[in-house]
Amino acid sequence: MTDTTVLGPVVVRLPPDPTLSRVLRLTASGVAGMAGYSVDEIDDIKIAVSEVLLALIEHGAGRPIEVEFAAEQDAFVVRAHTPIDSFDTDHPDLALCRTVLAGVCSSHGIELIDDEAHIWAAVAHLTP
């Protein structure tokens, strides 16, 4: 048994309302904290969650967004998706989002899969 408890997945389904970004960050922080993630790691997780949500709010079709958190042994993984008609994964407005995700995540991805926009991000857990 290690000090790190694996939690999740925790799934949240929410409308594309910007005011819920803070609520989602608080939820992710709680899950990560319970799983033994450090304060610095949780700060990065909050940024990753915010980037994932804003990308789907700003580039989505105004339909519900489903977000999944999983606190794994070596990373906190955020996966989110929303139905969409078209999604330009190379849109210039996503460039800054990608830069931030690259800065706080060990890996991330933005994809269009079967009429859904999918974004995932993994924040490394370095202090198990």
Binding site: P18, S21, R22, S50, L53, E58, L96, V100, G103, V104
Partner: protein, 108 residues
């Protein structure tokens, strides 16, 4: 102080000396409120943002700051950031945008 706008996670007001004082999170919800406050203040002179009470910022908030910096540059001015905390400094460093602003002071 004069309140310019508010939101559950962000409030913006003017200090007596004209700085825009920001409280809360500059995210996808708060960023547009901050941007509107900045635009409303641009005619009065160079923008000074007091970020002592900003505990979170993401790329949508950074876009608001970069837009202010770009417009200030067009006017031959700069945007000054005052009492910048580690959260904002980290995002500026990650994105390589620190040089777009004058960092007047820091908050640890």
């Amino acid at each position: 102080m004069t309140e310019l706008g508010n939101h559950d996670s962000l409030t913006v007001e003017h200090s007596p000396e004209g700085a825009i004082v920001v409280h809360g999170d500059i995210d996808v919800a708060g960023g547009p409120i901050l941007e509107a406050a900045i635009v409303d203040s641009e005619a009065a002179g160079p923008i000074v943002l007091d970020l002592a009470d900003v505990v979170f910022i993401d790329s949508s908030g950074l876009r608001s700051l970069l837009g202010a910096s770009r417009r200030a540059g067009d006017r031959g001015q700069v945007v000054t950031l005052r009492r910048v905390g580690p959260e904002v400094r980290r995002l500026l460093e990650i994105t390589g945008t620190t040089e777009h602003f004058v960092i007047e002071s820091r908050r640890d």
